[in-house]
């Protein structure tokens, strides 16, 4: 090997190694999670079907990371579509037009069978569930108790095997899980200067 080139190659390796680390670090940094109500919020306008658990995903209509969450949701519903009620809420921040929510994510969510896609005007519904990060999934029992709260991707915008999905699937199969949460990877639903209800 040409030793004259060894030094610049080593420097380059360090640089790109650092880049890989930064990328992984970024991708694996979860968003905030608020104090999720342990019981189905009384004021919620979301419809529930008696005798079936209800799944709620709070989403930002323009968060690119949420595309992976919707993909994983599709995987989940492909198996349990008939056994639960699923809602995907796309927040419509105050001041933003209705059409602002009609993004490709909306169309993706609308394309998933068994999903109720809703515009969450002024993020009121999300606020009831104390949602802070796009892609946050909540699973409530038919009786209204919270069974799971967390993300269903392994990293920011990353599809594939992940803890959240595995735990939800286990819950739905009736298998005991060690934990009923998982990190949520996605964009903040609220701007930094907005008051965040239920922030922990």
């Amino acid at each position: 090997m040409n030793m004259k080139m060894a030094v610049p190659v080593m420097i380059w390796l360090l640089f790109v190694g650092g880049g890989i680390f930064a990328l992984e670090k970024y991708s694996s940094s979860p968003g905030l999670q608020g104090s999720i109500p342990a019981e189905w919020p009384a004021g919620s306008r979301l419809q529930r079907v008696a005798g079936t658990p209800t799944l709620v995903m709070m989403s930002h209509p323009r968060c690119p990371c949420t595309r992976a969450s919707l993909t994983e949701l599709d995987v989940l519903l492909s198996q349990y579509r008939e056994r639960l009620t699923a809602h995907v809420l796309f927040i419509q921040p105050k001041g933003m037009p209705y059409e602002w929510t009609k993004t490709d994510l909306w169309r993706t969510a609308a394309g998933i069978k068994g999903v109720h896609v809703l515009v969450d005007a002024d993020a009121m519904e999300s606020d009831r569930f104390a949602g802070q990060t796009s892609g946050h999934v909540l699973l409530y029992k038919a009786e209204g108790q919270l069974e799971f709260s967390g993300g269903i991707t392994g990293a920011r915008g990353h599809i594939g095997d992940n803890l959240g999905l595995q735990r939800i699937l286990a819950i739905l199969r009736g298998v005991a899980v060690d934990r009923s949460d998982s990190p949520v990877f996605g964009c903040p639903l609220h701007a930094a200067d907005d008051p965040i209800p239920g922030a922990s």
């Binding site: 090997m1 040409n2 080139m5 060894a6 610049p8 190659v9 380059w12 390796l13 640089f15 790109v16 880049g19 890989i20 930064a22 990328l23 992984e24 970024y26 991708s27 694996s28 930002h60 323009r62 968060c63 690119p64 990371c65 595309r67 992976a68 993909t71 927040i91 921040p93 001041g95 933003m96 602002w100 993020a123 796009s134 392994g154 990293a155 915008g157 990353h158 599809i159 594939g160 095997d161 992940n162 803890l163 999905l165 595995q166 990190p183 964009c187 903040p188 639903l189 609220h190 701007a191 930094a192 907005d194």
Partner: protein
């Protein structure tokens, strides 16, 4: 030759390996270049993917540029930059392709991130490995595999959920991923080995082909050289001899080719020879008929012709042609031949005829001299006897007359008859003139006898061994022989010194002296032509140490500088045809120097004359070969 063609096996192997390495280097460089483009393309693609899939990150209604875009631009640029740089600056080097392999795997990781971990993007890893196999260097797969394995290993430690979807995978979980990479590597390595084997086989075929080509080229070069040499030899043979090769169109009698010698012999440029009517215009009128007889040559017929051609300086040059009929490349009938300048040959033939004639005359003269000698002797003896008889008779007659006058014994009548008879025959006159007439006859006979003796001495038969000769006597005899050549133009003077007998071949020395004396007479004749003057030929002999020296001087015009070096050359002559053969001085030199070990020099002065010096060893033994051609000029 076979050894040269095939070469040594290890040498061939070495050449094959060199070519293989060279071809591999070409592949390395070409693949480096492809990856350089790919690196740039991936960079742009990564930025595009980031801009399309994740242009912004949002917080409520606020947004900012997504980190993926920055990663695509900065990190992607960093990944691609060094491989591109190395591909440009260090193409073909191992570090370049190993760096490219690392970068390509990093690109797989980045693209997977940018596309949200889509399973399809993972094919980039396997596609990249296959692409890296384009290098046909199995070692390039090692850094690629290490990068993939290390990525999964470290992520399994630090961010296990992002890669395995679980929080606590077993440490060797990364091997599962590495296995599939290795799995592909197996096929790629097999493929690479096969490819390298084929490349080596191609290199061997190429070397074999080069060896064959080299051999063929060598053979072609060798044959071409031989052909060129042969052509040069043929050309030299054809064009550097005195013979002029030529070809002539039979119908037009126009030369279509003549050798370059033609220009030197007749003085006309080659191009002029090739013009129409050249031959007709330059052939002697008496020989015109000969050239038209060319046309009578039958195909493949052969002939020899001698004819005269006019040279550029106006002289007729005899040319002998040997020719044959044929056809040229256009199937036109042509005559081809060799032409030789035989003017000199003709001249020699004439000289030879003259010499033969002179030889015959000489032989006749020698024979006559021999035959005359005996009768001249007995005629002389008889005349001597007659003279003595006449003297005696005269005395007797005088006594008779005196006795009869004082004491007449005859009758008066008888006495008167006697007196009448004496008056009738003019006895007093007879008595006065007859002895003188007999003396004149004797003088004449003596002169004839001298000439005959001289001729006999001159025509001294050649002895195998040298014998002691009275050189002065021998030269005197020779001068007698040459008298007729000299007497009309010059007086001959001699100054013979005391010489002992000189050991030599007398007849040959006489010949040498005669040739020089005749040359002297001719030189004087040329010099005094048109005047009433007479020249002088002076022949001196003297002894110098152990040598006898003969000096023959003439008062001719001298020898010009330009020909002084040539006068001893055979056949060199300034005389017209029939007067000299150009052999005289050459023969003289040969006799004096080669046969007697002497020297033959000359001194000359233009307008005054020339003196030739013959120096002969008296004892006939030459201890030192004198410088043969030295001469001095006054």
């Amino acid at each position: 030759m076979i050894t040269e063609i095939t070469g040594r096996s290890d040498e061939i192997d070495s050449r094959v390996e060199t070519l293989f390495e060279r071809n591999m280097l070409v592949i390395f460089k070409r693949t480096d270049r492809m990856f350089a483009y790919l690196m740039a393309g991936q960079w742009l693609f990564g930025i595009l993917i980031a801009l399309v899939y994740s242009p912004y990150t949002w917080s409520g209604k606020a947004y900012a540029m997504h980190a993926h875009v920055y990663f695509a631009i900065v990190f992607g640029g960093a990944i691609s930059s060094l491989p591109i740089l190395l591909a440009i600056l260090r193409p073909g080097q191992p570090i370049t392709r190993y760096t490219i392999a690392i970068a390509q795997m990093l690109w797989s990781g980045l693209l997977i991130h940018l596309t949200g971990g889509r399973i399809e993007t993972h094919f980039h890893v396997f596609g990249s490995l296959a692409f890296l196999a384009f290098y046909r260097d199995p070692y390039v797969l090692i850094p690629a595999t290490i990068v993939v394995s290390l990525d999964h290993f470290l992520r399994g430690i630090f961010w296990p959920e992002s890669v395995y979807g679980i929080t606590n995978p077993v440490w060797w979980r990364f091997l599962e991923h590495a296995f599939w990479v290795a799995f592909e590597n197996v096929f790629l390595i097999v493929s690479i080995r096969e490819s390298r084997r084929e490349s080596r086989a191609i290199a061997r075929r190429q070397i074999d082909l080069e060896v064959v080509n080299t051999t063929v080229e060598s053979l072609v070069y060798e044959r071409t050289s031989e052909l060129a040499t042969s052509r040069e030899q043929y050309k030299a043979l054809l064009e550097t001899t005195l013979s002029i090769p030529w070809e002539m169109d039979l119908a037009s009698l126009r030369f279509t080719y003549v050798g370059p010698q033609a220009e030197a012999i007749l003085g006309y440029p080659q191009s002029l020879w090739l013009t129409e009517e050249f031959l007709v215009m330059h052939v002697h009128p008496d020989d015109q008929q000969s050239i038209f007889q060319f046309r009578n040559l039958e195909s493949s017929g052969k002939a020899e012709v001698e004819l005269r051609l006019l040279s550029v300086d106006g002289k007729w040059v005899w040319m002998r042609s040997v020719m044959s009929c044929g056809t040229n490349l256009n199937a036109r009938p042509v005559v081809r031949g060799i032409m030789l300048d035989v003017t000199e040959h003709r001249k020699l033939q004439s000289e030879l005829a003259q010499a033969q004639k002179l030889e015959s005359v000489g032989r006749l003269a020698a024979g006559i001299a021999h035959e005359i000698n005996t009768p001249v002797q007995f005629v002389g003896d008889s005349v001597h006897f007659i003279r003595e008889g006449v003297q005696d008779l005269t005395k007797l007659i005088i006594k008779y007359r005196s006795g009869s006058e004082s004491q007449p014994r005859f009758s008066e009548e008888k006495f008167s008859e006697i007196q009448q008879a004496e008056e009738d025959i003019d006895l007093p006159y007879l008595l006065e003139k007859m002895p003188k007439a007999v003396d004149r006859a004797l003088n004449g006979l003596e002169h004839v006898a001298t000439i005959v003796r001289s001729m006999k001495e001159f025509a001294h038969p050649d002895q195998k061994e040298k014998v002691g000769i009275d050189l002065n006597q021998s030269i005197a005899s020779t001068l007698m022989i040459a008298r007729n050549e000299c007497k009309y133009v010059a007086d001959v003077e001699t100054d013979f010194g005391d010489l002992p007998a000189v050991m030599c071949h007398g007849g040959e020395i006489n010949q040498a002296v005669l040739n020089i004396v005749i040359n002297a007479a001719h030189a004087i004749a040329d010099h005094i032509a048109g005047t009433n003057h007479r020249g002088c030929i002076r022949v001196c002999t003297r002894r110098e140490d152990d040598d006898a020296v003969i000096a023959i001087s003439d008062t001719g015009g001298g020898i010009p500088d330009a020909i002084q070096d040539k006068i001893f050359d055979p056949f060199f002559t300034t005389k017209e045809v029939g007067r000299g053969t150009g052999q005289g001085l050459a023969i003289a030199r040969s006799i004096v120097m080669d046969k007697h070990g002497g020297t033959l020099d000359f001194e000359t002065e233009i307008g005054e004359g020339t003196t030739f010096y013959i120096r002969l060893p008296i004892d006939g033994i030459s201890m030192v070969a004198m410088a043969h051609e030295t001469h001095s000029v006054r």
